[in-house]
Symmetry: D2
Subunit: 131 residues, 4 copies
Amino acid sequence: MSVPYVWRTRVYWEDTDGGGVVYYANYLKFLERARTEWLRERGYSQAALAADPGILFMVLGVNVEYRAPARLDDLLAVSVQYVLDGRTAAIFSQQIHRDGIEPQLLVDAQVRVVCVDSKTLRPRRIAEYLQ
Amino acid sequence: MSVPYVWRTRVYWEDTDGGGVVYYANYLKFLERARTEWLRERGYSQAALAADPGILFMVLGVNVEYRAPARLDDLLAVSVQYVLDGRTAAIFSQQIHRDGIEPQLLVDAQVRVVCVDSKTLRPRRIAEYLQ
Amino acid sequence: MSVPYVWRTRVYWEDTDGGGVVYYANYLKFLERARTEWLRERGYSQAALAADPGILFMVLGVNVEYRAPARLDDLLAVSVQYVLDGRTAAIFSQQIHRDGIEPQLLVDAQVRVVCVDSKTLRPRRIAEYLQ
Amino acid sequence: MSVPYVWRTRVYWEDTDGGGVVYYANYLKFLERARTEWLRERGYSQAALAADPGILFMVLGVNVEYRAPARLDDLLAVSVQYVLDGRTAAIFSQQIHRDGIEPQLLVDAQVRVVCVDSKTLRPRRIAEYLQ
């Protein structure tokens, strides 16, 4: 398991729904933003990777447990860790906590991602982009 | 001004925000779905148009007045009318009403759209796709 | 397992991302729209249920497998089936197929939902709303 | 006209559409995030304001010109300036630039906002929250 990376984001009106909490699909946006910023910190822009060497990361599956709801103005800490899953895929373990002195776990997720050729969509070796 | 076309859609949880009403950006989704269905009724799929003859419709500007809020489960009637604006653009006049025996006007919008080449993004003649 | 219900929806520009396919979080919107329409067919509006008898359905977890991508203009058939999971929860089994003569499975999902009091958020008996 | 405030945000996959650029409705999310952060800098949380003194900001209208498209990974600088519009409303002038050595104007918008009572939705004096 890789060293954990943590990225922070806020909850805005756009994220909430009429129940007064974050809409269940929108947590997947927070998870993806954190994976993207984690890649960026390693020096990889996904727009650049798609052009050269011509690869994309595709999500194959997600497993999400909603433990407690996030609300408007909450500051969220989204973590990123991974293990390789064969030659072309990786499983990301990600948690979303409400940030603060006593962080509260809101979402616990596993996201399976495969590295593919941006033209042919055939699997490509993933390891070099995750180190 | 063209003959008005009306298309109906529902308000789901995803469309509402923590204020209990539809989030202001999401009405623009309803407007676009209606323009897309209006084109489809004329026999034009945007995915097909992008491939052959290779054109896209790009929004240049919107002017939206929010008269009253839509809420969860509301059935909305979204109208589409247009006038040509030169050779390559059109101005769509669109209203969103809460449907029912006494429809209530919720949103009044003008949307300026230009027809462009899907490769070069240079303006192309629009009229033939709007008739 | 309940009798399957199927609801159809289109893919619009708003649903796609820069990869040319539906963004992975947006399939969860399609799943929820289908659950909402399935409830509506049984005579239950969620806005009305929240007021009287004062209940909401909260998603506790999702498990989603992405088998093939949906694209702009695709007509999707979203299915809804459930089994009770104790007194207050249910597990929905939902598939998204690209509709057509030979439907293609795009997404396979399980969604665990609990019925709660809309004020206190304490669990409430779910069975009567699912029959 | 108030002193300009500028807030930065990134373009993620969720913001783009199948045309490879940011979907036209999503710029309104960036505009709202910037207004929210501008209020936060002045010490106002909208969640707190809704509870005490019990006010909300409602958008009455938007006028948006799309000058050039934003793309995946772009860093955007979103500005906020306002003038009062009577006792209860304000007009925000907001621009979105692609950030960099030579910033490029992407979106030019005016957003008319009214301050209302969070219970009755009747207009309330706005000036004190904007200073």
